[in-house]
């Protein structure tokens, strides 16, 4: 039988988190406001510094304490949903997992909406183009079996499975998409995440339509538009490597061209 002590009266939250507010200096934060439609301008805020503080916390603090109209997006707060990406000092980052210390320069941070996507308002962008391209790259499973059939045995060590698994943990945060200059320069370019998804599927033994995938990535704005500039791989917060995935697609399409089959 469990024995629990009685509540000791008046034990509320410790003072230490709050103490930091008064002791600590502030951070100067520049936030890009507005949208393409309404015009964008930078606005400066002073935000108190805390011990454990992410860039998302900084943005939230502004909305909750200074400017209730500031718009941004987040959901999971732990790097799983890929909703909170923004440009931080010119670098695309997942803000819920970016500690302020990592990006602070002279007590300043510069925050802007994610690059290469239409800005809806302030720090929230329209992600539809990113997902439209995901679909356009045939970024979805083409079934070989139905729900009444058993789950196929697949050797996890098989080479193609390893390749497929390498790119599978993408959280579609669009950070690579924002980092890539080819995306910036070519509105048709499918972009690193969508192409990486296509490569993952191409290597999936369960996928029924490998040649449809190669067709989808061989057209205008397909994998051949990539210049291997590698910003995708450099900035992916999950350490994925779209650059190599896209190279894989180029190799596969070339092999098919020389009669190597899909």
């Amino acid at each position: 039988m469990l024995v629990y002590l009685n509540r000791n009266t008046g034990s509320t939250a410790p003072e230490r988190w709050k103490a930091k507010v008064t002791q600590r200096e502030t951070i100067t934060v520049t936030v890009q406001r507005g949208s393409a439609a309404t015009g964008q301008q930078a606005q400066e805020f002073q935000v108190p510094a805390y011990e454990s503080q992410t860039v998302l916390d900084v943005v939230s603090w502004i909305q909750q304490n200074t400017d209730p109209t500031l718009t941004y997006r987040f959901a999971c707060r732990v790097g799983m949903c890929g909703s909170c990406a923004m440009m931080v000092n010119g670098v695309p980052r997942w803000t819920c997992r970016t500690h302020v210390k990592k990006v602070l320069k002279d007590q300043r941070i510069d925050i802007a909406p994610l690059r290469n996507l239409p800005v809806l308002k302030d720090l929230a962008v329209d992600m539809d183009p990113f997902f439209d391209k995901w679909v356009a790259a045939e970024g979805r499973h083409h079934p070989t079996a139905g729900r009444e059939e058993p789950i196929p045995a697949i050797n996890p060590e098989a080479q193609n499975r390893q390749v497929a698994s390498a790119g599978i943990e993408c959280i579609n945060c669009s950070i690579c998409y924002a980092a890539c200059d080819t995306v910036a320069n070519d509105p048709d370019y499918l972009g690193p995440a969508a192409l990486q998804r296509a490569w993952t599927l191409y290597n999936d033994a369960k996928d029924a339509d490998r040649s449809a995938i190669l067709d989808a990535v061989s057209g205008k704005g397909g994998c051949h538009s990539c210049h291997s500039m590698g910003s995708c791989t450099t900035y992916c917060p999950n350490g994925l490597d779209p650059l190599s995935a896209i190279a894989g697609l180029k190799r596969a399409t070339t092999r098919r061209f020389f009669g190597g089959g899909a």
Binding site: N89, G90, V91, D181, G230, T233, T234, S244
Partner: protein, 113 residues
């Protein structure tokens, strides 16, 4: 608007490849024109070629060879990257390509002088 940060080796390799390709393409018509002169007037070509002795011209010739070398090695690097089974040693590729280019153009410079 805030600046976009992108100074990492692969991006530098990309921009180097693009600028060298662009400059080479701009130089090419000029190069062809000079050679065409040979058809009508070997002497004019000659007098042009003696310009190559002038240091400034010499330097820019060297630069061109450098560009060609950089671009070629960069291009070969790209094709290796795309077509050979992926090795993972990206940055080494980029670096060695540039190094090779430097070596070649240096060789050229030394020989020329």
């Amino acid at each position: 608007m805030s600046r976009v940060a992108r100074a990492h080796p692969l991006w530098l390799a990309y921009i180097l490849h693009r600028l060298s390709g662009l400059l080479l393409a701009l130089f090419l018509p000029f190069h062809f024109l000079v050679l065409s002169l040979a058809l009508h007037n070997a002497a004019r070509l000659d007098s042009f070629l003696t310009l190559a002795e002038i240091p400034v011209i010499k330097l820019s010739e060297t630069a061109l060879v450098f560009l060609l070398a950089v671009h070629m090695f960069g291009g070969l690097r790209l094709m290796a990257l795309e077509w050979l089974p992926w090795s993972g040693a990206q940055k080494t590729w980029a670096a060695s390509a540039t190094a090779g280019a430097f070596f070649l153009s240096f060789l050229f410079l030394m020989r020329a002088i």
